[in-house]
């Protein structure tokens, strides 16, 4: 395992952290979240200019050919700032899937635009009864001439509100397939809402949506392997992000313990609070280790080994996030639960991340399988 950042990664970390520090202050973020769009189009453009959107893409597609570990550094920094731009849905999930499963034509059509910040993507897999399963879906795609007709309901689709193109999974004759569906295609309905972490998601319904043969992404009936890979990338990214989030939350809590006084002294002088803080720092360190593991395995082709590493990481990070999140709120007292104070927002994001790409129970079972 490689524990030191490469020069590129160091540079990326500096860039992303600076961006978060300068452009993602509490009030700045509040304004972005409250805006009609729910994210900053301006920042999105900057991410493109800084090369963050094409980081992992081939140079042929406007990217810089980086690794998942490079991406991880950026995502962790985004986690520090609770960034709400649809990076996860567009870059980690969408572009990752197109890169892996797309035809040359599809890649050419999509990836350069993603890198340039001109196209956003979303991955629609979840359904009302699917829970975290990729297989148990009811959305169907029927052959219709040389194309397909899609019908179904996709649940809690991250970034569907901002996506130009939705990658949807659907049952085909003998399995599950993926389709590229323009968000503005006829019969697509997108009901948008904020998630607990202020990122937006949507219920997406397909009502006789017609797509052409070229909308098929990857092999017909054979999408599951690609979907699993995408979800593992998503889970790995969430681990990186959660690490950034819990690191800052620990910093906030430590600071609060030093400055808040009760009974005539800083509350950080009370041994019980000291030990809880120690456990929170330990939890962060354990998470950091598993994030390393997840980042190294996120793009592995060996699905079994990848799944084991990612699931192990998601369990540990989930565990750590709860220790840090709940601990932070308890140590802050009431103030941590108010919307005007920053800590509660970190807690909300950590809570949300537990429910994304499989919770601890899901991943523990998968790991133990």
């Amino acid at each position: 395992m490689e524990f030191t950042l490469t020069d590129t990664q160091q540079m990326l970390q500096d860039t992303a952290r600076r961006l978060v520090r300068d452009r993602y202050g509490f009030e700045q973020r509040k304004a972005v979240v409250a805006s009609a769009l729910g994210y900053s189009a301006e920042l999105w453009k900057e991410y493109a200019e800084l090369g963050l959107l094409g980081l992992e893409l081939d140079e042929d597609h406007g990217g810089s050919g980086g690794s998942f570990e490079d991406l991880a550094v950026v995502v962790e920094a985004f986690g520090r700032g609770l960034v709400v731009e649809p990076f996860l849905s567009t870059v980690v999930l969408g572009a990752g899937l197109v890169t892996r499963a797309g035809s040359a034509a599809q890649k050419d059509a999509i990836l350069p635009k993603v890198a340039a910040g001109e196209m956003k993507l979303a991955l629609a897999t979840g359904e009302p009864k699917a829970r975290y399963s990729l297989e148990r879906i009811e959305t169907g795609a029927k052959r219709d001439g040389d194309g397909y007709l899609l019908n179904g309901h996709k649940a809690v689709v991250l970034g569907a509100d901002s996506a130009d193109l939705i990658i949807a999974s659907a049952r085909t004759a003998k399995g599950v397939s993926l389709f590229l569906v323009p968000r503005d295609a006829k019969g697509v309905d997108v009901r948008t809402y904020p998630n607990m972490d202020d990122r937006r998601a949507a219920e997406v319904t397909f009502d006789n949506v017609r797509v052409g043969a070229d909308a098929l992404l990857g092999p017909e009936d054979g999408a599951l392997l690609h979907l699993e890979a995408a979800m593992d990338r998503g889970a790995a990214a969430i681990c990186c992000e959660a690490l950034g989030t819990m690191t800052v939350l620990n910093e906030l809590t430590l600071d609060y313990l030093k400055t808040r006084t009760q009974f005539g002294r800083p509350i950080g002088k009370f041994q019980v609070l000291q030990h809880r803080m120690a456990d929170m720092v330990i939890a962060e360190q354990q998470a950091r280790s598993m994030v390393q593991l997840a980042a190294e395995h996120a793009n592995l082709d060996d699905a079994k080994r990848r799944a084991q590493a990612i699931s192990a990481a998601k369990v540990q990070v989930g565990q750590s996030a709860q220790i840090v999140g709940r601990g932070a709120i308890q140590l802050h007292g009431g103030i941590g639960l108010t919307i005007e104070f920053v800590a509660g927002h970190y807690f909300r994001r950590l809570t949300a991340m537990e429910m994304m790409f499989g919770d601890q129970a899901y991943h523990l079972k998968r790991f133990a399988a």
Binding site: P128, R131, V156
Partner: protein, 397 residues
Amino acid sequence: MELTYPKEAQDFAEQIRAFVRAELPAAIKQKVLFHKRISRDEQVFWQRKLVEHGYATPGWSKEHGGPGWDALQRHVYDDVMSEEAAPPAIPFGESMIAPVLFAVGTPEQKAHYLPKIRTLEYFFCQGFSEPGAGSDLASLKTRAIDKGDHWEVNGQKTWTSLAQYANMIFCLVRTDTEAKLQEGITMLVFPMDLPGITVRPIITIDGGHSVNETFFDNVKVPKFGQIGEPNKGWTYAKLLLGHERTSIARIGQSKRELRHLKALASEQESDGTPLMEQQAFREKVAALEIELAALEITALRIISTAGKGHSPGVEANLLKIKGSEIQQRLTEMMLEAVGPYGLPFDTNKGLGETNLPPIGPEEAASLGPNYLMTRVVSIYGGSNEIQRNIIAKSLGL
């Protein structure tokens, strides 16, 4: 698992159950079940129903206008009310300031306040915490100066729950700045519409508004509102908080939530079978159910042995600690049960203010906010750290 009550208690339970089922509007019940906010009107409406049928202020003796029930009856009452999802009573009046009035109120004060508390004509809120006085409540700084016929109050309270609904407040104020911290505090009761009172909402991370900051700017509080003797307020506050700690265990509510959790997990599918059939989830629920049963028996045991030489202090703290831990675990597991549908966070929906169709299962909408806000139960009413400090102290440590 269900504990069995003695025959008389069972009959009593049936009587209450029949009343609630007949009188509680379905819309209110639904709000309680789905963790939505009960409006002031609904709260008052329900309180009047209780008064009408003799079920209000269950903890009050007949002398004060209550039903004069014994502790087991009160437990059964709370159990059935919670099971049937009746709105919980607002504690500030009937369970917090009223017991202080019973103990040290003048006959005039009792005659004036108690009937109005009973009907919720006086809707109380609590002015204890301050920005600089949380766990260390005795360091409070809100100042009251004796002006002969009134106290002049200046300062700031925070976390004043439901101040936006309240028309009355009870406050701890500093009346002697020379004395030891605990010995210079007085307890006052006064209307919220006195000149100089400003209430500013605090929005919490569930998107809800249940707490406030309350500012006092030269507020003139008539002497009639002074409770007991000046500078003895700390003693009265301890009496009052002791009451809060036992009811704060919310055993009845947790029993209802446990049923709710089981129902929810039976409807949710995981890998093609109901989540509730998955062994790991099932055993997590079972472990919680056992702990809750133990807590309920502990509560019954405390009730039954109260005043027989046991130390009620430790036991009330125990109820608060375990009760709050169980409440939190329940919210954690309910959120887990709905999977990705715990994510949508339409704060309007979560709080029942709009009439759009729900996103995902109807129960899901409130579970995120409910999880977030239930972190407060190990913080308020004396944090669990403070509770353990108290236990250690009563163990002689």
